[in-house]
Structures are given as structure tokens and as C-alpha cells.
């Protein structure tokens, strides 16, 4: 499959009272046409800022894309004028957020919110836009769509609001949807409905997806490829299969070991990753994971590991001790 989106050496910083936060630190990743790629990692590691950087929606003046390129269908989005970028947003790349209530306007009807984009982006007439809105609402499983166009966001449940957000994202037939924790606020049952819906839509319309999540189960069920982020950097990437079968970074291994699994016998004790993620304003020169890492050697404190091939096609890891990690059992 041809590459649809290619992020190259992207660095995004925030100026805060505590110092400069390099939220995304020279990160490269890509998404092929029609593919579902996951971005996983704990809160604060730079997942949302990665997606917002692609959309050029990083909050200025505190936030700033410092360097890098974002190629979408061969064009560098970072080099576009704001006017040109507006045409990409919503129309070619759409975004779905965790909390639909904050991205839906509470005083506008659902119908108006859906048709507005269609009129602006695609130059549709009111009637045409309305028809398209009914069509996409029905596609995402909202019954009685024509009648519900006149209702307001608060008249829908959390799950229904997320369906509406997906409908809004789909309305202009984008090539790529960036979904930032789309099901984190939902119950498992509704999460399953929403993710099934997204997978079905991605297959039916060939939309590529970037799913941002911290849920390893969601990644295993839905992603083709996975990027694991830690402290603003990608520390491991590979096919979902390789990553779960042959984790080559201690952080990935630690994440997999720390979650209890319903399909395995209950363990006497969970195995957490000790400590906590680092303060991004005080990162040292070495591996950001070193303070929590059980494989750490002297070199890790002074020299930053770069992504290098591990076994498996496209499988890479940024760890000096990857060979030892390879020999570690799934459960210690």
C-alpha cells in the first residue's frame, strides 16, 4: 500500500513556567492508505500533541512545531498556507476526540454542526448537505436520523455523541481519520460498538486511521501496526503481531506484563513498571526510560538509544539492550 501520511523528525515544544517541554521529540512515523495504525503510551507522552501537530492545531503561542515535515499525499502540510491547511482539515484529514461533548457545540443542533462543514468544505447546498448528514448519521447507526438532526448534543448519550463525531469526521469522505482516545470515556460494551463501527467504516470506505489509545487490548484487536511512545519519542514500532509476540523494548515488555489478562490463569501478583514517567522539562542525555528500566546498563544514562532494526519486517526498537530483552520471558 502507498504511504498516505509520513511524519518526519517532528519536534513540537511548549514553553511553560517550569521550562521548555519537548512534547514530541524528533519523531517519525507513517500511515499507509487504508491502514489502521496505533499510537500507544502513558498519559503525557506526546500522543495528542503528535496528532494535533499533523493538523497544525497545536495551541500557540505556548506551543510550537519546531522542526520536521508532515507529508500528506506527497505535500508537506507544514509548508502550506493557513488557507490551504483549512482545506485539508476536516475534508482530507478528520479528527475524533475522546470527549465529544467538548468538540460539539452545545448550542447548535446536530444537523447544523454536520451540514456546516459540508457547505464550507464541499460547497454543498443546504438541501444537499442535509441529505448527506442524514446519510452519514444512518451509516454510523443513529436510528431515525432525519428527526434527530434538530436535536442538541445534550439530548444524546455519550456513545451516541461519539457516533455523531464519527459521522462528522466521515461526512466529507476523508482519506485519514485521527482518533484520539475515541473510546476511553465509554463503557466496554459501547467501546466495542464504536470500535467495530470504525473498523467497518475503514474497510468499507478505505479510510486510513490513526488510533491513539493507552489500551493494549484495543490495539491488539484493531491495529495493523503499532508505535509505542515514551517521553516524547517512539521507542518501538512494528506489526501488532511482532510487538505483542516479540517485544524488544523494556517499556513495551513492561506494559504487556503489567496488565491482567482474562484469557490467562489469574496471576498471584501483578507486575507493574516501578516508578513513574519523567518530567519532560528535566530529561537527561540518556534513555528516558532508564530510571524505571530493569535492563539498564551504564551506557543508558549517558547515550540516547536510536531506533534500530529488531526481528520482524519494519520492527524497530530504541534500546541498547534489545538483545537481552529478546531473551526475557513474557512474564518474569
Amino acid at each position: 500500500m502507498a504511504t498516505l501520511l509520513e511524519v518526519r523528525s517532528l519536534t513540537t515544544e511548549f514553553v511553560t513556567r517550569g521550562g521548555v517541554v519537548r512534547a514530541v521529540d524528533g519523531v517519525s512515523w507513517d500511515v499507509a492508505e487504508g491502514e489502521t495504525v496505533a499510537l500507544v503510551g502513558e498519559s503525557g507522552c506526546g500522543k495528542s500533541v503528535s496528532a494535533l501537530s499533523v493538523m497544525r492545531l497545536v495551541a500557540a503561542p505556548a506551543g510550537r512545531i519546531v522542526s520536521g515535515q508532515v507529508f500528506f499525499k506527497g505535500r508537506d502540510l507544514l509548508a502550506l498556507s493557513e488557507e490551504e491547511m483549512r482545506r485539508v482539515r476536516g475534508r482530507e484529514i478528520a479528527m475524533v476526540f475522546q470527549e465529544p461533548m467538548t468538540s460539539l457545540n452545545p448550542v447548535l443542533t446536530i444537523g447544523r454542526q454536520l451540514t456546516e462543514g459540508l457547505e464550507i468544505h464541499l460547497g454543498m447546498t443546504r438541501g444537499g448537505a442535509r441529505q448527506r448528514a442524514v446519510e452519514v448519521l444512518a451509516t454510523v447507526g443513529i436510528p431515525d436520523a432525519a428527526r434527530r438532526l434538530s436535536q442538541y448534543p445534550h439530548q444524546f448519550s455519550g456513545g451516541m455523541r461519539q457516533r455523531i463525531m464519527i459521522a462528522a469526521a466521515l461526512a466529507c469522505n476523508p482519506a485519514l481519520i485521527l482518533a484520539d482516545e475515541p473510546t476511553t470515556a465509554l463503557d466496554v460494551t459501547i467501546q466495542a460498538q464504536i470500535l467495530e463501527l470504525m473498523r467497518d467504516l475503514s474497510r468499507r470506505f478505505g479510510v486510513a486511521m490513526l488510533i491513539i489509545t493507552h489500551n493494549l487490548g484495543v490495539v491488539a484487536r484493531y491495529a495493523d501496526r503499532v508505535n509505542v511512545m515514551y517521553a516524547g519519542r517512539i521507542v518501538e514500532r512494528g506489526s501488532a503481531r511482532d510487538l505483542y509476540r516479540r517485544p524488544r523494548h523494556p517499556y513495551t515488555l513492561g506494559l504487556l506484563r503489567s496488565v491482567p489478562r482474562l484469557d490467562e490463569p489469574r496471576r498471584a501478583r501483578l507486575q507493574p513498571i516501578e516508578g513513574q514517567p519523567p518530567d519532560l522539562t528535566r530529561l537527561g542525555p540518556g534513555c528516558a526510560f532508564a530510571p524505571r528500566c530493569t535492563f539498564r546498563v551504564e551506557r543508558c544514562r549517558v547515550e540516547r538509544p536510536v531506533l534500530a532494526p529488531a526481528d520482524g519486517e519494519g520492527h524497530v526498537t530504541a534500546c541498547w539492550e534489545a538483545a537481552r530483552v529478546a531473551g526475557a520471558p513474557a512474564l518474569a
Binding site: 448519550s157 504487556l256 501483578l270 516501578e274 513513574q276
Partner: protein, 326 residues
């Protein structure tokens, strides 16, 4: 379900909220948040309580803690019927039932140091009147939850989410409780930190002989920590059993649907699994369905499910389910 080793017994608990009818309130109605719930928890045991949001888990916990007056039913804690106690009696009992919330941040005073937050209840309840002894006790509490003595001088906003949850646990421990209601204590934490807190709760339980009501929506975590598990739907318990029986031999179609919805962190396992996606959403507790409350979403419902209310019955020894077909 009476058990002589029970620390807590909840009998036919009902909590209805009257809503609307006011100036801005919309149509008046009754929210049947908890609708006839009974269970017991033995000393030193952990009972898990799961179910989709809005099914009444938090309200059940709040009624047990007497933060909410039950509409009817009884709560017996350590042999005392709380619904019959006077205020002084209640105060004494209440100290021995503590709570840990999902978001400790909202319950920690931002202007107090961690040391002050932990010392306050010791003063209020006259547990450690002497100042030097109180400082020592605060240090001991911090150590119990894996924090350092210097954390006493920090403010809540200077701590990470996991550290704040440790403070929430220390504050509960300060009262030397017998029962702790843990209401989604790890839901807001990252997975690597969740495991730390779960291990801590297990260690403290062993060390202090604590009894837990563990409310959560993550079924994998609940399986790990619980001895027995109760599944709630629309204000009712639809299944309750020992951990192993519930997870390996679920009898209620709702329990089966919940389990099927949990994604397993393994792509090969996921590729082989048959997913039964539960359609629809939990109906409004203002107007629960007739018959079995689950029937509109139930994949195996038959005609009589629409009119007959299933009672929670012991289908197998110690394994109760409220389903006409179980």
C-alpha cells in the same frame, strides 16, 4: 445469603431519587438508582462490583457509607444495623468504613500539604492527640503506601496521579478502617501505575485484615483483585459468584456480553475470538423495562422475559443469577 462471618450485609437496598418537577427540572420522575440489592462481604474478603456506568454501583457504595440515606432496606456493619443507629452511634461506625475515589485530586484540599491532609482526620477524630505522635503517624502512613517522609511537605498538585491515589489510600488508612469502599480507584491511572496500586491494595489488605468493596468497570482488574464478584444492571444484581465461577462459567447473558466486550492484549487471540457485540445502551432508570430489565438488549430473550421478573436465585452452589433461562 446470610453468613455469620460477614462484616457487611446489605439487605434489599433501595435508593430512589426524585427528580424534576421543580422550576427548571423537567418532568417529575423517580430514578431507580438501586432497586433491591442484597449481598454480604466476609471479613478480609474483596467483593468486586461491575456493570456499565449508571447502573448504581456508586450509589450502592454511598448508601453503605451512609453518605446517602437508603429509601428502604438494611445495612448491617459488624453486627450493627446502621439504619437503626442514632447520630453518635453512626459517627463511631462511620470511621471504620472508608472510601477511595477514582480521582483523589478532587477530594484533596489544594491548599493543604500532604502532611496536613493526613493529620487532619487524626485530630478531628481524636485518634492521635499528641502532635509529635501525629507526625510520626503521618510518616508511618506515607511509608505504608510507598511514599517518602518528604512527601509530607508537598502539595497535591506537585504529585503524579499515582502518588495522589497513594495519598487517598493513606488518608483512608489513617482511620484504621475495617471496610474500604474502593470506587474506581485505578480507572484514571495509566496501566503501568494501575498495577502498582492494585498490588498496594492487596498488600494493605493482608497487612491490616481489610475488607474491600471494589467497584470498577475494568473486568480484568476486578478478576485479579476480587474473591467474589457481583454484576449490576439497572439498579439490580443480575449475577453474583466466586471469581472463578463468574469468569469461567458466567450464567447471565449480560455477564457474558461484558466479558466478550473486553479486548485481550494479544492480536492472535483477538483474531480467533468470536465477538458478541452487545447492541443498544442501558435504558433510563427513570423508566426501566418491564419483566427482565435486560430483555431489550438480551441476545437470548424469549417471550416471557418481557413480562416475568427473574429473581436472583442460586443456580449452582454459591453462584446466583437473575435470568429466567439460567
Amino acid at each position: 445469603m446470610t453468613d455469620n462471618g460477614a462484616l457487611l450485609e446489605v439487605r434489599n437496598l433501595v435508593k430512589h431519587f426524585h427528580v424534576g418537577g421543580g422550576l427548571f427540572g423537567g418532568a417529575p420522575g423517580v430514578v431507580r438508582a438501586v432497586d433491591g440489592v442484597s449481598f454480604a462481604i466476609r471479613r478480609g474478603e474483596t467483593l468486586g462490583l461491575v456493570g456499565e456506568s449508571g447502573c448504581g454501583k456508586t450509589t450502592t457504595g454511598r448508601c453503605i457509607l451512609q453518605l446517602e440515606r437508603p429509601t428502604s432496606g438494611e445495612i448491617v456493619f459488624d453486627g450493627q444495623n446502621l439504619t437503626k443507629l442514632d447520630d453518635a452511634g453512626l459517627r463511631r461506625v462511620r470511621r471504620r468504613m472508608q472510601v477511595i475515589f477514582q480521582d483523589p485530586y478532587s477530594s484533596l484540599n489544594p491548599r493543604m500539604t500532604i502532611g496536613q491532609i493526613l493529620a487532619e482526620p487524626l485530630v478531628v477524630h481524636g485518634l492521635v492527640p499528641d502532635r509529635a505522635a501525629r507526625e510520626a503517624r503521618v510518616g508511618e502512613l506515607l511509608r505504608h503506601v510507598g511514599l517518602l517522609p518528604q512527601h509530607a511537605h508537598r502539595y497535591p498538585h506537585e504529585l503524579s496521579g499515582g502518588q495522589r491515589q497513594r495519598v487517598g489510600i493513606a488518608r483512608a488508612l489513617a482511620m484504621e478502617p475495617a471496610l474500604i469502599v474502593c470506587d474506581e480507584p485505578v480507572s484514571a491511572l495509566d496501566v503501568s501505575i494501575q498495577a502498582q496500586i492494585v498490588n498496594l491494595l492487596e498488600d494493605l489488605q493482608r497487612q491490616f485484615g481489610l475488607t474491600y468493596l471494589f467497584v470498577a468497570h475494568d473486568l480484568s482488574v476486578v478478576r485479579h483483585i476480587s474473591d467474589r464478584v457481583a454484576v449490576m444492571y439497572l439498579g439490580k444484581i443480575v449475577e453474583i459468584a466466586g471469581r472463578q465461577a463468574l469468569y469461567e462459567d458466567p450464567l447471565h447473558p449480560y455477564t457474558r456480553a461484558l466479558l466478550s466486550a473486553v479486548p485481550i492484549p494479544d492480536p492472535d487471540v483477538e483474531a480467533r475470538r468470536v465477538h458478541v457485540v452487545l447492541g443498544g445502551e442501558v435504558p433510563s432508570p427513570l423508566n426501566p423495562p418491564a419483566g427482565c430489565v435486560f430483555h431489550p438488549r438480551c441476545p437470548i430473550a424469549v417471550d416471557r422475559c418481557r413480562s416475568e421478573v427473574p429473581v436472583l436465585r442460586e443456580v449452582k452452589p454459591g453462584h446466583w443469577a437473575a435470568c429466567l433461562l439460567a
